[in-house]
Amino acid sequence: MSKPDWKNFEPVLIPDIPDLDQIKNYEKNGGYSALKSVFTDNDKWPDSKSVINEVKEANIRGRGGAGFNAGLKWSFMPPADGGPRYLACNGDESEPGTFKDRKIFEYNPHIFIEGALIAAYAMEITTIYVYIRGEYKSYIDMMEEAIQDAYDAGYIGKDILGSGRDIEFYVHSGAGAYICGEETSMLESLEGKRGYPRVKPPFPAQKGLWGRPTTINNIETLAHVPAVINRGAEWFKGVGAKNHPGPVLYGISGHVNRPGVYELPSGVPVLDLIHDVAQGIKGGKELKAVIPGGSSTPVLRADQLDGITMDSDSLRTVGTMMGTAGMVVMDEDTDMVDVLWRIAHFYHHESCGQCTPCREGTGWLEKILLKIKNGEGEVKDLDLLLDLTTQMEGRTICALADAAAWPVRHTINRFRDEFEARCKKSVHALA
C-alpha cells in the first residue's frame, strides 16, 4: 500500500491558526458553515437521513477506540416519537497513553460543538451532554464558555437558524473514574449514579439516558463531522488508509524527543511517527517496543514494526489494534515486567467490581506480576497468568476485563525471555 503523504498534510481539527477557540475566529475561518448548510440548505440536505448517509459513507471509525462507523451507529436510532432523544459526547479520555481530545477542547472547541450539533440534527436529538473527566477542570471551564458563545450566536437553543429545531447543550463533569469512559457507565454517571456499566443489548440507541434513545460518540469522532459535510465523504475517504480513513489525532508519549499530539492522516507508518514526527528516541537510544493505541492495545516489539502503518488492517497483521492512537514508545532500557505490572495495577484499580472474573482476575494479574517483578515468581506463574487472561476475556459486562487481559497475554508472549529471566529457577524449570 502506498504511504500517505503525511508531510504535506494540512490539519483540519487542530490547524495552526491562533485563537481558534474564539467563536469569531472560528467563524472567520469557515466555522459553522457546515452547520448552516445542514440546518438551512434543503436542496443539499433534504432530510435528516441524507446527513446520516453522508457520514456513514465517509466511514468515520469511532475515535474512542472501538472503531465503529459513526454514521452506521447514528442509523440505529429508532424513528423520532416526539419524546426526548440524547447525544452523549464522550470526553472522559482516561486510557493511559491517551491525551488527544483535550487538544480539541483547548484549541478548537467549536469544531466539536458544530459536529455534535450536526449529529443532533441528523438523529433528531433534543439534548446534547458532553461528559468531561473531572480532572480536566480547565477544559470544562473552556467548554462551558464555548457553548455559551454558541448559544449567544444562535447555533444552540430554540429554533436554530430558523430551522424549527430546538437543541440544548450541557457540560457534565466527571469526578475521577476511568470506567465512566465506557459508554453505558457514562450514562449511569450522567444520571447521577455510581458508574456501573450496563449489560448490552439493549444498546443505548434503544435504551439510553433515562431509558430514551441515545447515541454516544467520542469527541474526536464528532469533530470530524463538519469537514465531512463541507468537503464530502469522498474527500474524507481519500485521506489516509482506505479501511480506516480520515485525519487522526496521534498522541505520542514515552521515550521520544518530541512527545505530543499530532494531526496526520491515518495509516502513517509507525516508525515514521516515532523517528520523524516525534523526532526519535531520547538520548539516541534504540527503540524496544511500542504500544500503538492506549494501554489496552497489545504491545509490539521493535522488530515487528517494519512496514506497519497506523490503521486497523495493518495493525491486525501484527496482532494489535488502533485503539485511541495514543502511542507509548519504549527505549531499549525499558523493563517490560515493570511496565506490565503498572498496567495491571491500573486495571485492577479501575475495575468497578460488578463482575467476578474482572474484579478477581485483575487483582490476581496484578498480584502475580508484582511477585514476578520482585524476583519471587516462578516460570509456572507465567502460564497461570496466561490462563487467567483466557478466563477473563469475553465473560464480563464491559470490555474492561478484556482491556486488562490483552496486554498481559501479549506482553508475556512477545517478551517471554525477559519475564522468564525475572523468575526464580523452579524445580519444574530445572527438570
Binding site: 426526548p84 479520555e93 482516561s94 486510557e95 493511559p96 497513553g97 491517551t98 491525551f99 483535550r102 473527566r133 473531572g134 480532572e135 480536566y136 477542570k137 480547565s138 440544548e168 450541557y170 457534565h172 463533569s173 466527571g174 469526578a175 475521577g176 473514574a177 476511568y178 454517571s189 450522567l190 444520571e191 447521577g192 449514579k193 455510581r194 458508574g195 433515562w210 498522541g251 505520542i252 508519549s253 514515552g254 521515550h255 512527545p259 505530543g260 499530539v261 504500544i291 494501554s295 495514543g326 507509548v328 519504549m330 525499558t334 515493570d338 511496565v339 503498572r342 498496567i343 491500573f346 484499580h349 479501575e350
Partner: protein
Amino acid sequence: MAYEFTKEDLKEIEKLKTKYPEVTPVTLPALWIAQNRFGHVNPEVQKLVAKTLDLPEAHVHGVATFYTQYYKEEKGKHVLDVCTCLSCQLCGGYDILNYLEDKLGIKKGETTDDGMFTLNEVECLGACGYAPMLQVTNDKYVNHLTEEKVDNLIESL
C-alpha cells in the same frame, strides 16, 4: 461545625436542576459545589447535599465514595496528585513521587503535620505527552516535572 450552602450555592444548584429531566443527576455537580465550598465532602457534607436535593443519604454516599476526586475527609491545603501511570512511569513519575515523599517527610496518602500538603499517587491524568506530571488540588496541571520544578512548586504554594 454545621455545614450550610451559601445563597449563591443554592442558586447554582437550582440552575443545575434545569439541565436534567430529574434531580438525581445533580448529585455529581452538587458534590462538586460542596467540595469547593467546604474543601471536602465528609459524611456531614454528604448529608447536606442529600437534604438539599431531597435524595436519600445512601445515594449521595454511594456516589461520593465511587469517584476518586471527591475527598471523603479533610485533606491538606494543597493536594498533590502525582501520576505514576504508564507514560509517567516511563518518564520518571516514581522518582518524582519518591522525591516528594522525602521532601515533605510523608508517604503517599499522607498529609503533612502542618496541614499544608497531602501527597497522592494517581492514575493517568490524560497528560501523557507532558510526563512526568502532577495535578494540584483537582485543578492545575504541572507538566514535565524535574526536582527543581518540584522545589519551585512547593515554594510557590
